[in-house]
């Protein structure tokens, strides 16, 4: 009977880590990825000798042995860490009971000053959890039967994620169908706005999934995500998608966009003076227009080259304001490229006041709102030009 009781108690008592993995399936609940990254931290007191060894599969047995070694190792490391922490606290004259990780970092910085550039190369003392990679908990029970239906794919977390994506895609389709069948066609679909962030790299995905992926698998995942995020109603799954995206380099705070002014006839307008190389442009963009453009009193044919005309049209087209605003520009100095470049920046800057913040951000990312600082490079003495040298002849 004793043996039997042990067997009944065994899973919940000893393999809490394994159990928790089982309970957490399906992996994704409420749109959030719940990943089982727990190593059985509380330490399996795996006294296998007490249980009936014949009923435990070989796989389970070897797993338990490995887990035991790992746990012991981590336990040892943790012990050393705690001892070290106490030593440091004593050295620094602080109370060891209330010595935090921040205090540890400070003490190490003070006691082992380092001139090395890379922070990762400097001396450090961290909690073992931060230093040693996490391991997957057992994926099968004592009989060697896997918990997960996708266990034999060898990458259950990855394929669960893919499967989940497909299910969600169909859910969105059904949602769209519902909206169409109710005849709410004018309700605008809310596609997700993904500017300013990018998909997390393969390494990060692997860390999240606790599985190694091939390049092809990663590419497949990203393609699927991209298709998913292009669904007209993808904004409904924003939280889910954003887990797999990271923000690009710190976004510049949107500068203070000036308020629109009104002329005598009540039309809104905005002006901006700018330059490019040595040309100066004064641009006025007037709202409620029909797309009339005037450059130094001429129409678009002030510029003869196609390229210059494209420069002028680009910000208007990009912000979808073509034909909705009028432009009056005066420009002088330098050549046509510089003149059209100056007008382009002027129009873009003026258009900020006419469009929403999202479009401004898109314009910023497209490089429309940045000043072009390039100028002509001076000629150097002893040279033919800025960089070019005189022809060299031996004699």
């Amino acid at each position: 009977m004793a043996v039997l009781r042990e067997l009944v108690v065994f899973p919940s008592k000893c393999l809490r880590g394994v159990r928790s993995y089982f309970l957490s399936a399906p992996l994704f609940q409420n749109g959030f990825l719940k990943l089982n990254e727990s190593v059985s931290k509380d330490g399996h007191a795996l006294d296998l000798e007490q249980s009936d060894t014949k009923k435990i599969s070989k796989a389970m047995k070897s797993y338990m042995e490995r887990a035991k070694i790992h746990d012991n190792f981590i336990k040892q490391q943790l012990h050393e860490y705690n001892i070290g922490k106490r030593h440091l606290a004593n050295m620094m004259g602080k109370d060891p009971e209330f010595f935090t990780q921040a205090d540890v970092d400070e003490a190490i910085r003070y006691l082992f000053p380092s001139g090395l550039f890379d922070p990762r190369a400097r001396p450090m003392m961290k909690h073992p959890d931060e230093i040693y990679p996490k391991r997957k908990a057992a994926e099968f029970d004592v009989n060697g039967r896997p918990y997960h239906s996708l266990f034999y794919t060898s990458k259950p977390n990855y394929y669960t994620l893919m499967h989940d994506l497909a299910v969600k895609f169909k859910q969105l389709d059904r949602h769209e169908d519902k909206i169409i069948s109710r005849g709410i066609q004018d309700q605008k679909p809310t596609e997700l706005f993904l500017f300013g962030s990018e998909w997390i790299p393969k390494q990060k995905v692997e860390n999240v999934l606790l599985e190694t992926l091939t390049d092809a698998q990663y590419e497949n995942l990203i393609k699927t995500f991209e298709r998913f995020s292009q669904h007209p109603y993808s904004a409904l799954e924003k939280d889910f998608i954003m887990q797999f995206r990271r923000q690009l380099a710190a976004q510049v705070e949107i500068q203070q966009v000036p308020e629109l002014m009104r002329d005598e006839s009540g039309r809104p307008y905005m002006t901006y003076n700018t330059r490019r190389k040595t040309s100066n442009a004064a641009v006025k963009v007037i709202g409620q227009g029909t797309g009339v453009i005037s450059i130094n009193g001429n129409d678009i044919h002030f510029f003869q080259r196609e390229q210059d005309k494209k420069q002028i049209i680009f910000p208007l087209q990009f912000s979808d304001m073509l034909g909705k605003v009028d432009v009056v520009a005066t420009v002088d100095g330098c050549g046509t490229s510089a003149q059209s470049g100056a007008i382009r920046l002027g129009i873009s800057m003026c258009l900020r006041s006419f469009v929403n913040a999202e479009t401004i951000e898109r314009m910023r990312l497209a490089g429309l709102l940045s000043f072009d600082p390039r100028t002509r490079e001076r000629k150097k003495p002893g040279q033919a030009g800025a960089r070019e040298k005189f022809t060299w002849k031996k004699r």
Partner: protein, 388 residues
């Protein structure tokens, strides 16, 4: 992204989850079918036909424009697009309205078409030419005056008029052009000369001989061709005054007659002014308002003048003092850029002829871009949509 079935049920467009083709968005084209008119007779063109295309039959094209009259690019394009079509535009409608209401007993009215180069003056003149042909008028048409001033194929001192210059080859060409345009009509009218023209000791055209004889003589004897042209124009003027025929004078690039220089040089290398040509004299005499039963339509264009004289397209600037005083009083008619309706009509035409093939250019966004980059200027638009 919404699709309609024949029964009116709405479906979501089938979106494939497992393929990249999901990214190819359907492109919506917008073509209106109102860009053509079935009214092929320019005499009936009214404001309702504004911005519509009407097609000109091959035989009429051959009759009217064999010797010139359509700009080269336009003619080539019409051949590529398999048929000549002309857009009925405001200036032409205005002119047609005036011509329909003209009192032909009064001295001839002069109309001057002006506008930027490439805005469609020559096409409007072609339209008027077709009108005149349908109205049974004798057409006196000069396709492009600068051809006589800028690149004459051979200019010789006149035998009859001292200090004047003849255009033998151009005159022969023009006479041929005149007879192709008016051959049938001239046969019907049976106009006769009113005076005797003596060309040399042996050659003469007696009074009362048909005008075709005069034309044939000019075409066969290049030496007398220029004087034949002058004689022919004088005879037509007289015939018009005596109400035997009605004359429509159409001259493209009229301001070239008053150009400050030409490519023709005397033996001492001094430049011969266009006003010293016999042809100029003849056509200037025709464009005076000292006759009746006719109409004069001329166009002035910057490209007819030397490079430094192209600042303004306005008639006073283009004609200069001399030319302005010659034509005064006249009715100026501006040929502007395309209006929005005309622009869309033109794009519809290009799409219908499959000339505009880029799918994105056929959308509203594409149209907006074309409209902006061409500035609604007809020639720019034509160059913009051309595949080179």
């Amino acid at each position: 992204m919404i699709r309609f079935s024949p029964t009116g049920t709405v479906f979501r467009v089938w979106r494939r989850f497992s393929s990249w083709s999901a990214n190819t968005m359907p492109i919506t084209e917008t073509i209106t079918d109102t860009f053509r008119t079935n009214e092929l007779d320019p005499m009936n063109h009214r404001k309702d036909h504004d911005g519509c295309f009407y097609s000109i039959s091959q035989s009429v094209k051959k009759q009217l424009f064999t010797g010139g009259g359509l700009p080269k690019e336009y003619k080539e394009l019409s051949e590529t697009l398999n048929g000549l079509s002309i857009m009925v535009r405001k200036p032409a409608i205005e002119l047609i309205t005036y011509l329909n209401k003209t009192n032909f007993d009064a001295p001839v009215t002069r109309y001057v078409l002006y506008g930027k180069t490439g805005s469609g003056k020559s096409i409007s003149l072609a339209h008027i030419l077709h009108y005149g042909s349908n109205a049974g008028m004798v057409l006196v048409h000069v396709p492009w005056v600068p051809n006589w001033v800028r690149f004459p194929k051979g200019c010789t001192p006149s035998v009859i008029h001292p200090n004047m210059y003849d255009h033998p080859i151009e005159s022969v060409e023009w006479l041929r052009h005149f007879s192709t345009q008016n051959g049938l009509l001239m046969q019907k009218l049976e106009l006769k000369t009113t005076e005797t023209y003596t060309w040399s000791k042996r050659e003469m055209t007696a009074a009362g001989s048909p005008l075709s004889e005069l034309i044939d003589l000019g075409m066969n004897r290049a030496k007398y061709a220029t004087d034949c042209v002058a004689a022919l124009l004088g005879e037509l003027k007289k015939a018009a005054v005596s109400k035997r025929c009605r004359v429509l004078v159409v001259i493209d690039g009229f301001n070239a007659f008053f150009s400050p220089r030409s490519k023709v040089q005397r033996e001492d290398k001094s430049i011969v002014l266009p006003t010293e040509f016999v042809l100029t004299d003849a056509f200037l005499s025709l464009t005076r308002n000292d006759w009746t039963n006719g109409a004069i339509v001329v166009s002035v264009d910057a490209s007819a003048l030397p490079l430094e004289l192209r600042e303004s397209p306005l008639p006073r600037y283009q004609l200069g003092k001399q030319g302005f005083e010659h034509l005064d009083p006249f009715i100026p008619i501006e040929v502007p850029n395309y209006s929005e309706k005309e622009f869309h009509s033109q794009i519809d035409y290009y799409i219908e002829r499959n000339w505009l093939q880029q799918p994105k250019a056929r959308t509203d966004r594409g149209r907006a871009e074309l409209s902006f980059t061409s500035g609604n200027h007809p020639l720019s638009l034509m160059k913009l949509v051309a595949p080179y």
